[in-house]
Amino acid sequence: MLKLTSVQAGYGRLPVLKGISLHVRQGEVVCLIGGNGAGKTTTLKAIAGLLPIRKGQVEFAGRDLTRLPPEQIVRRGLALVPEGRRVFATLSVTANLELGAFHRQDKKEVRQDLEEMLARFPLLKERAHQPAGTLSGGEQQMLAIARALMARPRLLMLDEPSMGLAPRIVAQVYDILKELQIVGVTLLLIEQNARAALKLADRGYVMETGRIILDGAAADLREDPEVQRAYLGKGYQEVWE
């Protein structure tokens, strides 16, 4: 469904992605894990069109997305829940959700989806008219996910949904992702929190310094000592000795 072929991207002069190839099949939950600065967020930004792709190709549902701007990409059914949630702080919860469906023309169904979303997230319903900035971190994360779902995406990408949240809240967020998985939403998930992500996912990719160094079934990656090494490094010989 989604296919990246040797994608390279970066910021200014800084090269970050040095040729990423991966794919996500319909109905799958795929996670992308790796340490700080491995290029996970950059990968999602490149797919979503927020960062120009220097080389390589992004294909989605058989169509080339490589040079499309983000506002076009979301129309093709690819939504991103950005890192740090990024809710529109001064707008109400409802307004945030409505903006998630900005590009949709089917007004009636948008109304319905909005009701449905508030029903699915009772916490949000209670605060429907509050500015989103007054919500707690966990509630904002729920709102960000709900907002992305308002676009009726065929594939949902999530950038570190557990970042900065207490473990109890992380569990709640993952419950929601689990529900989405059950109803058949395709997910591409980025996590530093590898254990939680690998528990949910069907397959996983491990990134290190702009490359994919490992991939396989999530169950296998959970047991792989290489994964831990990718995060914490091996002992190196001290160079001055």
Partner: protein, 288 residues
């Protein structure tokens, strides 16, 4: 006397508020001071005056045409003078805006000459007595129209899809794009609306002072900018309040201090606000 000055101040202040809304919205979304806002105001006034003078159109049509012309001018400015400069040092678009302002002013001077033009008004206004206070129906009409425009704008921003999208772009451009919002289009829409409001203010002030001339936008433009700062840039209710407060302060200052320094009042307030409370009088209140 005092109440009369207050009313005069409210009238000019409502014009400042309308222009200040343009400044504040454009600043909110682009972080740019559109120095040429005063010339957009002038353009609205000229188009309405010229159309009415031709005798072919009704007052309301001329008013609408003035607003439309101002809106188009705003759009053109955005495309020509600002869009190519996005992402540069903030001084660069500021200087470009100054260039655009001089250009438009001198263009108007070439096309229409330096002299004042009277406003060919089709109605007559009276002065009625309201609780012992002489009130001109013209002032009432201007105030009423200005408040109507402000209310429309606030409703637009708060309740419509595009209004919310503009706020979203001002808050977080990248995330707005992820929602499928075309930021360029929202910027253009912001220029369109802000400029139309300035155009409306131009027509109203052309009627009020019965004078339309190429440099008419200079001082109101600068004062409206002060009003926007006074209200806290990017803050829509703030811009309205700032405009009204400034108009009143100016009117009272002229009456009780010295009419020679009338135009300096706005700048003294501006400098004081920037030094003492740069976030504006409404800071801490909810934006938008």
């Amino acid at each position: 006397m005092f109440l009369q000055q207050l009313l005069n101040g409210l009238t000019t202040g409502s014009a400042y508020a309308l222009i200040a809304l343009g400044y504040t919205m454009i600043y909110g979304i682009l972080g740019l001071i559109n120095f040429a806002q005063g010339e957009i105001y002038m353009c609205g006034a000229f188009v309405a005056v010229l159309l009415l003078a031709s005798g072919q159109v009704s007052f309301y049509l001329a008013f609408a045409a003035g607003m439309a012309a101002a809106a188009l001018l705003g759009l053109a400015l955005e495309r020509i003078a600002f869009r190519p400069l996005r992402g540069t040092h903030p001084l660069v678009p500021l200087i470009s805006a100054i260039g655009a302002s001089i250009f438009l002013q001198s263009l108007a001077l070439l096309l229409f000459g330096p002299n004042d033009r009277a406003f060919p008004m089709q109605f007559t206004f009276q002065t009625i007595s309201l609780a012992g206070l002489p009130v001109s129906t013209l002032q009432g009409a201007i105030l009423g129209a200005a408040l109507l425009f402000m209310a429309l704008l606030v409703a637009f921003v708060r309740y419509t899809r595009y209004g919310k999208a503009i706020v979203a772009c001002a808050l977080d451009r990248d995330t707005a794009r992820l929602m499928g919002i075309n930021v360029d289009r929202m910027v253009a829409l912001t220029f369109l609306i802000g400029s139309a409001l300035s155009g409306a203010a131009g027509v109203m002030m052309a009627i009020y002072y019965n004078a339309t001339y190429p440099r008419m936008g200079l001082l109101p433009g600068l004062k409206a900018f002060s009003a926007a700062i006074l209200g806290g840039v990017g803050n829509i209710p703030g811009a309205i309040l700032g405009g009204l407060v400034l108009g009143i302060a100016e009117s009272l200052g002229a009456a009780y201090i010295s009419s020679g320094y009338k135009d300096a009042v706005a700048f003294v307030i501006l400098i004081l606000v920037l030094l003492l409370r740069p976030q504006g009088i409404l800071a801490g209140w909810q934006r938008h």
